[in-house]
Symmetry: D3
Subunit: 224 residues, 6 copies
């Protein structure tokens, strides 16, 4: 089986190269490939087969490997649990649209000042919402975003879970029910906020760097 | 196969009965079995086999089923990922003792005002540390706890991950290395704090109630 | 007259000895008697007669001398005022039950992260409420405690006095009156919260250590 | 014996009258005597003899009765303990000057947004320090006040006791010792901050109003 | 043309001299002229003509030169924009009285702990309101100030702009409209709070010192 | 003279049209032109000549009129002062590069959750820095941005001015001097942070919406 990401550093440098080549050297222009984690990033060929397969799969689908896969693969057992949890929340059936789930991720990651999650999930949100503006709005202040009152209520609850979960009371559930959310929807909202409380902290601790690709993804009309 | 927890409500009531029976009825004395979650708690016989097996196993080992198993079983896929993550962090080999890992849980759960995690993991900490005082100290203020300077440094980092992870800088890593922690130890510390950021938020959202057993566990010399 | 606490260090060690003896030496097991204050603790025989009498009285009643008496006796004039204030609030007639007054102490001490007051008054609360669970609940998060809506309103006001008293407005009084509290009850609630704002800060400053006895008190059915 | 404050409302109105008379009626000009407490203020003749004696004494000395005496007299037992505590801290011998003790009161009352204590103790600070500027500076931001580095260290510790006492560690004591403070001085500093944590909360809860006299006291060269 | 403030240090010393002379030398008594800024304060004759003219004008009107003029003159272009902005907000026509505008300044400066603005604008507020008490009340806690419910609503909005402007929602506008404020009034309130967010930060950064004159201004019946 | 922006709403809709046209109608897709301010936006022909000239000038230079010009033109006197202040700080000579000044704007606007300023100045930062990644990094967490240690020190000071300016002490100046900043540079840094404290609050209060153009600007290699 091929191992398409054997040399992460080279492939990233070549992807970013077009930028560096076209810009005259500004003082901030990147001369070397920046680290994507404070911890060692494993080589693809050194990973357990299932972890590697997951990474190859995402690369084939997305065209690149999001750094969260490469950096968390440093601990395969945690990697497996992390993505199993992620998939259980983000890929499950339910009343929340995919874009709405990503709104929750972006809003709470903004509250937690997590560069990786804001940038990476901001890109996914733009794609799912087919809206190039929504992610930057929600990351900064959902109250000023192009979202519906129902979505604003959803994000208010998600931020309460993210920031002061001990203060959640029955009235918070009632407020969501008044917008038509079922209790299962509320679990989804809260659980996504809770899972990214974990994800944001891991990314901040290991200083996970977003892939260059995410910054532009979903911003151009032609992008998928 | 036997299903030893088929009737959660009855079994809990009988366990707590000794208390209620012996106390004259104070104004706070519990007359009814309190809810252990805002969400439905599945019956054991309705659960997927692997989830049920895990629950039976913990009951046989602990003598009762901690409510985190019953309440999170409402979502089997999330249940599996949650405990896989938990085990990957709490049962793995490493330089942190089991008591130290529980200290991290108790300190960060204290910061997040999570009744379930403070009480349940406080019990586990008492047992592992063979110390009936440590959990209440660490839950309230690790600076005033019977811990070593090395453990206090560990808890300071864990609380920074729990409360302001965006401000983690290289100097925080240096401070732990000065106490002899390896980078893998630091990942363990931060990842446990991050995982319980998730766990605390879930418990707060669903209003998870600690089992009566936890309150006393590890407080008496003869207790295991 | 006998001076039953002449040698504080020895007597504490012997009280705690049963624990240490029965536990195999864990890494956290206590080898030496820990300090109960950052400041000198006077010998009983060196104290003014009235201060000594108060201490002897409490020992005869409780079976041990809570460390708050020993540590604050370092300053007899302040000791007298402190306990006069305490008694004026905690022993007076009024509509608040003794358990309810201790709930206020435990909830606000939890907010102030005061190990001594959480542990010592948690014990007293368990005894008064004849409830082994209530103190740990209230210390962590009163919203998730086995208390009535009226008691939760009481604790919400107490915490507002403890944490942002400048924001108290007439509406806060109205909310309590709606639960049947009189204005004198409200003074009681606020004054207890205010007094323990003092007490918590003193305990935190001098690093007052709770007696070992408090950790278990009120947790067993047979305990008084 | 004369009861010089039998009619609080009238006497206050007459004291304030000079102001109202001389100002043309601005829209904020006071037309009625404002309440000095949310709770009933007792008449002097209804008070226990010792409480009344204390009030008469302060009136003779200061020329008016500070409202803290009148409003707290609503609860004589608490009144006695409050002023016994106050006197034990503020009138005792020690290395802190009277002005320095008042600085602590003003700085921590500023942090607690307590109108009564800022205004009343600001006046006392001006008088003791013989400095018409110091109180307004310290109430707003001690870092910008005309105080010595030693006094700024004292105020930093007092504010830590007032605002985050759980975080006090041995290094905080060392920092004060480096400025020549003894451990007894440190107790004084911390205890004053702790006592006014109580006082500020009581004043905020009952909405204690500062006497008009305090606003100008100590601002004019000739004032006592 | 005369340059009446050519020697700032001397003139300030002589103004303050009466105080120093009349007070026996307390330990806080000022022996030297304190700095009014961390940055150089230009001499009047070195300033551009328009800046100098503005300063001369204010001196003739007020009898002294507020230090904000002297300290900000270090940067003439910013000086011009600052006072143009100030005048556009504070001198314009509108429904807010001059005293109300200064209330906004004092309340938000209190929240930002800005010594200069609290003291200087507190003086102006006393003069405009013809009320010697209002400024100290509003600086500490507007909820306890002698203001109308309408003014308290105004100050609540101003403080929200000052402290958590991202959370402003349409309901905040509705609350002000319910008190009769027009949308133009609301812009005025918010813009004054926003402008002093700038002003407070500049004053805090450069450590701007209030003139001695401001402390007493508007406190005596005869003062204008 | 031509008035190129006479019909703001139409022109914005047509600019955004390409997006809306090419995306299949997602649930978030914009059907109507959103408001750019809570307050009326003046027509260009109704503005004073100097204000209009400024707007025409910026349109000719940028190709569109940033909404800050249109929304603040509601108050011409404030508009003039605002942009005079802006230009005095952002266009002046000095040691800070244009990109560094915009970093300060983006970092402090991120701290203030100001959607307009993050998006608009993020675009300008990308252009000046010739770096498509820098703005999203700095808005979320400057510690994880591709900036030099010197720039990180600059941003730490700017954020202290933005968030807790009262705590600025001489040591903060020393820390910047250690990186080679002059005192004039420090004024620049602090004044830019202070000015955008004003700007962020105005934008949040009026709910200023960023132009669609800003979201993409500076993200593509060919863009200037």
């Amino acid at each position: 089986m091929a191992t398409p990401v054997t040399n992460r550093r080279r492939s990233r440098a070549s992807r970013a190269g077009s930028w560096i080549g076209r810009f005259p050297a500004g003082r901030l222009a990147r001369m070397t490939t920046p680290s994507i984690s404070r911890f060692p990033v494993p080589k693809l060929e050194d990973l357990p087969e299932d972890v590697r397969a997951r990474i190859v799969e995402v690369q084939e689908k997305a065209g690149f490997v999001p750094n969260v896969f490469l950096t968390l693969a440093h601990r395969p057992a945690e990697f497996r649990a992390f993505f199993a949890y992620h998939d259980a929340l983000m890929l499950k059936e339910g009343n929340l649209s995919k874009a709405e789930r990503e709104m929750i991720v972006v809003a709470t990651s903004g509250a937690n000042d997590c560069v990786y999650c804001i940038v990476a999930h901001g890109a996914i949100l733009r794609v799912y919402a087919k809206n190039p503006f929504i992610a930057d709005q929600v990351a900064a202040n959902y109250r000023k975003s192009d979202t519906t009152p129902r979505q604003k209520a959803m994000l208010a609850f998600a931020l309460k879970v993210a920031q002061k979960s001990a203060e959640i009371v029955d009235e918070d559930f009632d407020a969501l029910r008044a917008h038509g959310f079922t209790d299962e929807d509320i679990w989804d909202i809260g659980a996504i906020a809770a899972f990214f409380a974990l994800s944001n902290r891991m990314a901040n601790m290991i200083s996970m760097r977003p892939n260059d690709e995410f910054f532009l993804l979903g911003r151009l009309p032609k992008s998928k």
